[in-house]
């Protein structure tokens, strides 16, 4: 339920346990998690990619969840981390969007404003030692064509860039993106680049899946693709020749 104060809804109790000595412990780790989300700006706007897996620890528990969601007309959210917290965040944002619709005054919160709002929410929750355990990418494009890409993590750190990746993506995809990204990427090039990164992530991140979604935000609005499989090639030399037994740590 949306309270009308500018500070916004304070909803969701979070998990809490009380110990015998009177101390309380809130969420200290995520339970059901999504892995990396990638985001890049390109010629017409901004594009996100994520797989559709929600893991329970190391178990691939839910294989068809959406981690890229639209908010209103021009904003996309991509989430890694605790999936239930993401669902809660989306409910909150839906409330805000319905408020905009109800106002009917021709104004809708811009991607940058939603990014700032999420930063406030995340930072506020972390200051209560009860964080929402997500690493979010916020992407969007205003009607005039200005693209926005920013990230907010579970302690309220916020950061904007032309290329962003959460989780393992920060280690495995960002180096590729840094090498291949340019501001004038065509839509097809942008998609191919993200697919390459998602493929690498599937090869090397044990919490990743080869079933992915791509979403784009342009001046025309937002589109989230259906989930589809990325091709993999397991006959590559580095995969087919086990390093075990040789004088290494045994990994690829």
């Amino acid at each position: 339920m949306l309270c009308h104060s500018a500070a916004g809804p304070a909803r969701g109790a979070g998990h809490a346990t009380a110990a015998m000595d009177g101390t309380r412990q809130h969420t200290s780790q995520p339970i059901v998690t999504g892995t990396s989300v990638l985001g890049i700006k390109y010629k017409d706007g901004v594009m996100l990619a994520a797989d559709t897996l929600a893991s329970y620890g190391s178990l691939a528990r839910y294989k068809n969840v959406e981690r890229l969601k639209p908010v209103g007309e021009c904003t996309l959210i991509g989430a890694s981390g605790e999936y239930s917290d993401f669902q809660h965040i989306m409910e909150t944002l839906e409330d805000y969007h319905q408020y905009d619709v109800n106002m009917d005054d021709g104004f809708e919160r811009s991607p940058a404003e939603i990014y700032n709002l999420l930063r406030t929410i995340m930072y506020n929750r972390r200051n209560k030692f009860n964080p929402l355990w997500n690493y979010l990418l916020i992407a969007g494009c205003k009607k005039d064509g200005t693209a926005f890409l920013g990230s907010v993590d579970h302690i309220g750190t916020c950061y904007e860039d032309n290329i962003l990746a959460t989780g393992f993506g920060g280690h495995l995809a960002l180096p590729i993106l840094r090498k291949k990204w340019r501001p004038d990427l065509e839509e097809g090039e942008a998609r191919a680049l993200l697919e390459d990164c998602m493929r690498v992530l599937f090869y090397r991140d044990c919490r990743a899946l080869n079933r992915i979604q791509i979403a784009k935000a342009t001046a025309e609005g937002t589109v989230v693709s259906d989930a589809y499989k990325v091709d993999t090639e397991w006959s590559l030399a580095s995969f087919s020749q086990p390093k075990a037994g040789q004088d290494t740590d045994g990994s690829w």
Binding site: H4, D105, N116
Partner: protein
């Protein structure tokens, strides 16, 4: 005023379906010194007559800045206006913290109108005795809103409130269709011409007797006073055709009561 048994509590309806206490609060707005606002396609101008309660005091504040893109001109009880302006400033600051942007004026005005409304429906508080003209330039362009003690609010191209505001209203009604394409200087001159009709009969509008504020596209809220206004005053004197004060006996308008905290 017409006294009757239904007019002493806000929570009592008259048999005609009227709320007399609320209407009396609206009366307080009409007793305050005149304020007006008008907007073009890019800017909004507020102007108000300054009144001093006595010879030795400074005049009371008529225009309050709320944020870099927003301000308000008032007529009625200054003390009420100050507390409402404080509320609005806090809302603007909160918005800036949460969203990193300035607030949409229509939504702030709606919250303000709701504050007014709540006082009219419960026994514990009296209605606010102040009318406000909110000028802003936000993401949907320039706006001018009026709020009333009743909790009603309106969006106008131009409006005047307070004592002897009728002549300003008449001037604005005659010219408002031209405002859309006015440049800022023309808009300020229209404001001053309209305001000159609100001065007490035997006096004339002078640069020290009024306060003016501007906000607009790529123009942060700015107040102009005294000497800053002199060039505009000189210009309208040359052009003529300013609004003329109406007859003192003009129906609803009452002589001001400057000692009652009215501004």
């Amino acid at each position: 005023m017409f006294r009757n048994q239904y007019d002493t509590d806000v929570t009592v309806w008259s048999p005609q379906g009227r709320l007399h206490q609320v209407e009396y609060a609206m009366e307080a707005v009409k007793q305050g010194g005149a304020s007006l606002g008008l907007r073009s396609g890019s800017h909004v101008v507020l102007a108000a007559l300054k009144r001093a309660p006595n010879e030795m005091s400074a005049p009371q504040k008529k225009i309050f800045k709320l944020d870099s893109n927003m301000g308000v001109a008032i007529a009625g009880l200054t003390a009420d206006a100050r507390s409402l302006a404080k509320y609005m400033r806090t809302e603007c600051l909160n918005h800036k913290y949460v969203y990193g942007t300035t607030m949409q004026a229509s939504r702030l005005v709606l919250d303000l109108a709701d504050m007014h409304q709540r006082t009219t429906q419960s026994y514990v508080r009296r209605p606010y005795g102040v009318g406000m003209l909110v000028a802003a330039h936000d993401q949907t362009g320039p706006h001018l809103f009026q709020t009333c003690p009743s909790g009603n609010y309106f969006e106008y191209v131009a409006m005047a409130i307070g004592a002897r505001s009728q002549s300003a209203k008449t001037y604005l009604e005659k010219h408002f269709e031209d405002f859309e394409n006015c440049d800022l200087d023309e808009l300020v001159k229209h404001a001053l011409k309209a305001l000159s009709g609100c001065v007490t009969g035997d006096k004339e509008l002078d640069a020290n007797g009024l306060t003016l504020a501007i906000v607009g596209k790529d123009k942060v809220f700015e107040s102009l006073e005294g000497e800053q206004l002199q060039p505009y005053m000189d210009a309208i004197e040359l052009e003529g055709n300013a609004a003329q004060p109406m007859d003192e006996g003009d129906g609803e308008e009452k002589a001001p009561a400057p000692d009652a905290g009215m501004a």
